[in-house]
């Protein structure tokens, strides 16, 4: 079940971008010295205490990027067992940012690039795009 959830640093970056949907998981802020372990029993960032923040699933976060920022991306299965992340250049609003990458495919695909690696890489790129946009 833990594989469904974005890691701590990603959840924090999502919160900072305004992600406030109800979630099934949460993290504690490190200032509280409660550790950064994933706990089940989340809530929306709107209602969490200042010491806690929501842990969305990858699927929720991806949907949020699709619906809120109209970003277009996909994870492709390559027939050698690896996966590839593509963020489409015709994500119009962000074209300039994405065009700084040489191809619409933003990933080099190393060996043993698992689905989970691809999810993580994809969400990292999406965060980077939106964070740059909002700077």
């Amino acid at each position: 079940m833990e594989k469904e959830f974005v890691p701590y640093d990603i959840a924090l970056r999502l919160k900072n971008l305004g992600f406030d949907e109800p979630c099934f998981g949460l993290y504690n802020l490190p200032e509280q010295n409660l550790g950064a372990d994933l706990k089940f029993g989340g809530n929306s960032n709107k209602y969490n205490s200042k010491w806690k923040f929501s842990a969305p699933t990858f699927s929720q976060a991806f949907r949020w990027f699709r619906e809120k920022y109209n970003l277009i991306f996909q994870i492709n299965y390559l027939f050698n067992g690896n996966y590839q992340v593509i963020i489409h250049k015709n994500t119009h609003e962000y074209m300039n940012l994405i065009q700084s990458h040489p191809h619409s495919c933003v990933d080099e695909v190393p060996d043993n690039y698992s689905y989970e690696d691809a999810e993580l890489s994809c969400i990292g790129k999406l965060l980077e795009i939106v964070e740059q946009k909002l700077k």
């Binding site: 079940m1 594989k3 029993g41 990858f58 996909q74 689905y115």
Partner: protein, 131 residues
């Protein structure tokens, strides 16, 4: 949040094929004098795996995974992949499992993202059934 969860039929098929991971949702189907009803409930206040397991064993309810959980299970347990690709039109996607999905004209079928997820899962479940 509702969009995250598979349908009742899909959850039932997954269960029949051995899916028994913990889920955050559960679906119920019941019949009343005015017809058949279906509900989806989900709870984001669970605190431990144990309480989830307990809830998932509640009699009469069907544990309901998210699409992401179902696809992960199919990938890890059955080696089945799927792909949802942008169709070049805002909000429209093409879908691939063992083959692309085509419409009646023989062209790549276009879906919303959620429709594509559901179509992929249905086809992957068919593949498991045939196995």
């Amino acid at each position: 949040m509702v969009k995250e969860f598979v349908t009742y039929e899909q959850a039932l098929e997954l269960s029949n094929y051995g899916f028994n991971d913990s889920c955050f949702g559960w679906r119920s189907r019941y019949t009343s004098s005015v017809g058949e009803h279906e509900t989806l409930e989900y709870n984001h206040n669970f605190t431990t795996h144990e309480s989830l397991e307990l809830f998932n064993s509640r009699k009469g309810d069907l544990p309901c995974p998210t699409y992401s959980q179902a696809f992960r299970w199919l990938r890890e347990k059955h080696g089945l992949e799927h792909q949802i690709t942008y169709a070049g039109v805002k909000g429209r996607y093409n879908a691939f499992t063992d083959d692309w999905f085509y419409d009646s004209k023989g062209e790549l079928k276009e879906f919303s993202y959620e429709e594509a997820e559901s179509a992929c899962l249905d086809r992957l479940l068919k593949i498991v059934e045939q196995k």
